[in-house]
């Protein structure tokens, strides 16, 4: 336990800038937003100059609130996913690049503990930071909405929960994929990983074209697993205005599918693959 605590603190101290990227992003957005409001007030404009929601039906307000929080959380989630991918390379190859790998690996600590702590910070740690920040944003945005028009907090919290679950699944999949690539390539693992995927896709396309095979596209499949979709069809919107519940149910159905299970399975497989590759490395 003492070793785990020391490893956790060390990883945080050496990577805190990247670990807290979602916080820097959120703080940046607030600073820019507040600066905008301040400038507006200094120019003696009313705060209502940017927000005009008077007369909007209650159902529509909730729909706008739900959609806004979902979109905002997805934006922050994208930052969290990029941070986790960056961490994957930092955690696996950072010591090697900074020539301090031997110091860390000359301690009587098992690789399982060392890599387990790194993965813990990269995936559950990043999800926790993202979830807390997204919740804070949700409460702030709900407060702002309720200032102008009556809205129900329930829709805000459901939007937050759904976006956190969906982003978390993508984060597990993508960060584990690039964890694997970081184990495979010591230098430029992100770029090399992308090139590997493109090379496999090219090979598939050539095989399909020359041998008349029907191998499915790897890029499409990875894109499907990596992406988070948020769709409100124009035609459906009017019916949903009175029933945001339909949208919420539809979203839960989109989250609870086989692709989500596969994201978790791939996450475990890529973690194990990266671990195995790292363990086989020689230190010089």
């Amino acid at each position: 336990m003492k070793q785990c605590k020391a490893l956790l603190i060390k990883e945080y101290r050496t990577n805190w800038l990247t670990i807290l990227t979602p916080l820097w992003f959120t703080a940046g957005v607030y600073v820019i937003g507040l600066a905008g409001i301040l400038i507006g007030l200094l120019k003696e404009q009313s705060l209502n100059w940017a927000v005009s929601v008077h007369g909007v039906p209650a159902g529509m307000s909730n729909m706008i609130l739900y959609s806004s929080i979902y979109a905002m959380s997805l934006l922050l989630g994208t930052v969290a996913v990029i941070s986790a991918i960056t961490l994957a390379d930092n955690f696996i190859n950072g010591g090697f690049k900074r020539k301090c790998e031997i110091l860390h690996l000359c301690q009587p600590v098992s690789l399982t503990k060392i890599l387990g702590i790194k993965y813990l910070l990269m995936v559950p740690g990043m999800i926790l930071i993202y979830a807390v920040l997204a919740l804070f944003n949700t409460l702030v945005l709900s407060g702002v909405f309720s200032w102008f028009t009556p809205v129900h907090l329930y829709f805000s919290l459901v939007a937050w929960m759904q976006s956190v679950v969906e982003i978390s699944l993508s984060l597990v999949f993508l960060s584990s994929l690039f964890w694997f690539f970081a184990g495979l390539f010591r230098w430029k693992s992100f770029l090399m990983g992308i090139l590997t995927i493109l090379a496999i896709q090219a090979a598939i396309s050539i095989l399909n074209w020359t041998a008349g095979l029907q191998i499915p596209s790897l890029l499409n499949y990875l894109g499907r697993l990596a992406s988070v979709r948020f769709e409100i069809h124009g035609g459906a919107a009017p019916q949903m205005m009175d029933s945001v519940f339909n949208l919420i149910t539809l979203k839960w159905q989109m989250i609870c599918n086989w692709d989500s299970v596969m994201k978790l399975i791939y996450g475990v497989l890529f973690f194990c693959g990266g671990f195995w590759l790292y363990r086989r490395r020689e230190l010089s």
């Binding site: 003492k2 070793q3 605590k5 020391a6 490893l7 603190i9 060390k10 101290r13 050496t14 010591g95 900074r98 020539k99 301090c100 031997i102 110091l103 860390h104 690996l105 000359c106 301690q107 009587p108 600590v109 098992s110 690789l111 363990r279 086989r280 490395r281 020689e282 230190l283 010089s284």
Partner: protein, 285 residues
């Protein structure tokens, strides 16, 4: 009688097609200070890294009769290592580095650490990246010597440091680490500085161990032989690997049992013997 703490059997290591270690077999005893000498690229660092389980190889390395597997962390319950580069994490401060090693390494000895810290003058709050090379080495030495281990491996630990600091470095190691039940295995280019410390010497050349002997016995086996330049041929018949000429004399290191009439003899130091055995950059023959 001292016990073998490390046993190396038929160790061979390839980097691609290059053979870095060639069938190396060694036994390193407890309670000794052992020097590892070799030219650049002779295989010194590779040997040390194989002894730590860092490299995959052919043959066996045993620590206290237990085979060391590739990337096995149990080795570090008994062995500490100082590499040839500073190797500290620049992102941590001095205090954070100490706290980290203290937290992850159960061999940490608080009393030794405090004693070393009190004489080191290390700025605890400063980032490692902002320390001088000497300070970094001092910190590495502190965190290594604060571990209660029985074997210390040093791979060119004073590379790039000034002479005063090198002297202090070896004095600290002798004073704070060495004891009857502990072993120091050190590879260095500054042979003259460690010559008086070493009890055994291992010379490695082109991946092969060409000599493993007690220093005193080795020094008795060789001596410096000098003859006037016009008598050089009498020296050359003994095929010395290295000769030098100065002030009208030709000099070489030869086995002590070779007697040459009219020659002057002197005691050879380790550097002379090393060059005589593996050749050097002077006047080789």
């Amino acid at each position: 009688m001292s016990a073998n703490i490390y046993q190396i059997r038929n160790l061979t290591k390839f980097y691609g097609k290059t053979k870095a270690l060639d069938n190396v077999s060694l036994s390193l005893d407890q309670g000794k200070i052992i020097g590892l000498l070799g030219k650049n690229g002779a295989g010194k660092s590779t040997l040390m890294r194989c002894m730590l389980g860092f490299l995959a190889h052919e043959g066996e390395v045993l620590l206290n009769d237990r085979v060391i597997k590739h990337r096995e962390h149990h080795v570090f319950n008994q062995v500490a290592f100082i590499p040839d580069v500073s190797g500290l994490d620049d992102r941590l401060s001095v205090q954070q580095t100490i706290d980290y090693i203290k937290g992850v390494n159960p061999c940490w000895n608080d009393a030794t650490a405090e004693k070393l810290l009190s004489i080191s003058n290390l700025p605890l709050k400063r980032k490692v990246g902002k320390l001088s090379k000497g300070m970094k080495t001092k910190l590495y030495l502190l965190i290594t010597l604060s571990l209660d281990v029985s074997f210390l491996l040093l791979d060119e630990p004073t590379l790039g440091l000034d002479i005063a600091f090198r002297k202090e470095f070896f004095n600290t190691i002798l004073g704070e680490f060495f004891a009857e039940n502990k072993t120091i295995f050190i590879s260095t280019h500054q042979v003259e500085e460690v010559e008086d410390l070493l009890q055994e010497i291992i010379i490695i050349d082109n991946g092969k161990v060409i000599l493993h002997e007690e220093v005193d016995k080795l020094k008795d086996r060789f001596r410096i032989v000098s003859l006037p330049v016009e008598d050089a041929s009498r020296l050359m018949v003994h095929n010395p690997k290295l000769i030098s000429r100065s002030l009208g004399f030709v000099t070489a290191v030869l086995p002590s049992d070779i007697e040459i009439e009219g020659a002057q003899y002197g005691r050879a130091n380790l550097a002379d013997i090393f060059l005589a055995l593996v050749g050097g950059s002077n006047e080789t023959v």
